[in-house]
């Protein structure tokens, strides 16, 4: 897994609630059997005015100029500002794959859907839950200030605004440790292999029909 320590990155405000994973990466791109190459199709139906197909070259596709990612001032953004319930809907990990491939490393929102939130950590993306008021402030400042950059520091669990003001965020100890070190979760779990086997043996006794 990709490690995350800290970044100072340009923020981009996506001002919509309940952004679902169908919007993040439409279904036609889920036909790929790879984990990479989804970035050009991130928010495909909002970003372009024509229909996107898998493996399409996006360099000359007609852009929806109104869509925030297409505005020159947000080019190269690494921090996505979002509204409540970001990532709802399908469990497709293609959504964080697309977000990562595009170049975002952090998403800040008042709330995330559960499966999407988990999927982010598996891909080196840090999802930060902040209060609705805090997110509102970030949206306002970001929209009114070109080149609005946020510093996101995972060891201290702090986001620092250009003004120098900062706020802290929660992250579970395990997720933090894995993200900081880019640890292979499967390898870590397999360190508990004896425990899993012991559980399995006892489970086989209590519910033998699950093992026939």
């Amino acid at each position: 897994m990709k490690a995350f320590t800290q970044i100072t990155g340009l923020a981009c405000p996506l001002d919509r609630a309940n952004v679902d994973t169908d919007a993040i990466i439409p279904k036609q791109f889920l036909k790929s059997i790879k984990r990479t190459g989804f970035g050009p199709y991130l928010f495909d139906e909002w970003r372009y005015t024509n229909y996107g197909e898998p493996d399409m070259d996006c360099t000359n596709r007609p852009l929806n100029e109104d869509f925030v990612l297409n505005q020159a001032r947000y080019k190269g953004a690494q921090v996505l500002l979002a509204r409540e319930n970001f990532g709802c809907g399908s469990s497709r990990e293609h959504a964080p794959w697309a977000i990562d491939d595009y170049g975002f490393r952090v998403i800040i929102a008042p709330s995330f859907a559960d499966i999407f939130y988990n999927n982010c950590f598996k891909n080196g993306i840090l999802p930060i839950v902040a209060s609705a008021e805090q997110v509102d402030q970030l949206f306002k400042e970001c929209e009114s200030t070109e080149g609005y950059e946020l510093n996101v520091d995972l060891p201290s669990q702090t986001v620092t605004l250009p003004s120098g003001a900062s706020f802290s965020f929660d992250v579970s100890e395990t997720s933090k440790k894995n993200l900081l070190n880019g640890l292979d979760e499967i390898g870590l779990t397999l360190e508990h292999a004896d425990k899993i086997k012991a559980f399995e043996n006892q489970h086989k006794v209590s519910q033998p029909w699950l093992f026939t």
């Binding site: 919509r16 609630a17 679902d20 169908d22 059997i33 509204r83 709802c88 779990t189 899993i196």
Partner: protein
Amino acid sequence: MAGKTLYDKLWDSHLVHQDADGTSLIYIDRHLVHEVTSPQAFEGLRLAGRKPWRNNTIVANPDHNTPTQNWDKDIEDPVSKLQVDTLDKNMKEFGSLVYFPFKDKNQGIIHVIGPEHGTTLPGMTVVCGDSHTSTHGAFGALAHGIGTSEVEHVLATQTLIAKKSKSMLVKVNGKLGAGVTAKDVALAVIGVTGTAGGTGYAIEFAGDVISDLSMEGRMTICNMAIEAGARAGIMAPDEKTAAYLKGRQYAPKAEQWEQAVAYWNTLKSDTDADFDAVIELDGADIQPQVTWGTSPEQVLPIGAVVPNPADETDPTKRTSIENALQYMGLEANTPIEEIKLDKVFIGSCTNSRIEDLRAAAEVAKGKKVASNIDVAMVVPGSGIVKRQAEEEGLDRIFTEAGFEWREPGCSMCLAMNADRLSAGERCASTSNRNFEGRQGPGGRTHLVSPAMAAAAAVAGHFVDVRNV
């Protein structure tokens, strides 16, 4: 000390390891696999030189990409075909308990075939790289969707890294009125909770309305728990659960059956269990539901009018209503019954089981699909559902009324195959998501029950099925 909820019992009986911060390893009994979210996981195993921990927990089949007609032509889209072929290859290489390849007589939607073969049982943990895995909670299993990295983790370790959710009780009391179905209950609940109301929770559904439902109806409700934001929906198993499972291929047999049923009878929330949240609804208040917007929470009873954003005081919600009305091509205050349709889709892991098809056929019998409906299609959830429906003559009722009778699969629920809406087309759909572009770019989806969908196909617009 308060008693345990059903969710507590399922969690505790699968807990392998717990870190100080609550991060846990949960043992997984059943792993459902389909072609879309698994190729990268198997590739990950291959690259790391790992093998599945217990391949006889895997139940698999392709469903998202498979066509629903012209099976003699195989899969015409080469990208879809590669994904389905990749599942074939992975199943051959890594092995499974059950695998139905494309065109197998038992192939179908993974959430339909699992229960059909008795591979979903009370007391199990069930995962799948698919958010609608919550469906299996109808059997008293802890079942939820996972991402592809987690699919790989479960394959390699038979466990999932998880944190315990909070618990919510949704109690639906009383009785449903005639013409009101499980789908209407699911939509009405989401109308109350919102699409994020269940985030962070496992929802237990209980109450007389739930007890009165068939297993098919219960699956419809648990299926849509995720649309309320809850990864898992669960229901306590009862006599109906056992009756449904008895004799199915992978259900316990002989003396193990009695032992299993005795255990399953303990799978219910203790009377003194505490829930973190409780919502109660009266079944008699639930009307047939129709979504009007681009989120399942944007739902109203059939007799209502499309909302006016000017009446909404919360600015974020007002913007959501405005965006939804614009995308859906609807004017504020339009009566739902005046919304005209172009297509009708009866199918999906929410509503493609035999009981759903019976309910739709009962409405369609002896009638004709309205002339303004371009396509009305019925897509059974599995080969078994299809054959059962054909034995009962439901296929003929549909085709005589002008519906298309298709082969099983996910179909136009998410439009990964050729079944989709064109931009601007409006569809009454028995599926689970009305998101922008879900059924095709620019397509407009209204979620309804099978009976409401059939009634809308006949009328050409939404209509109260209770008056048909």
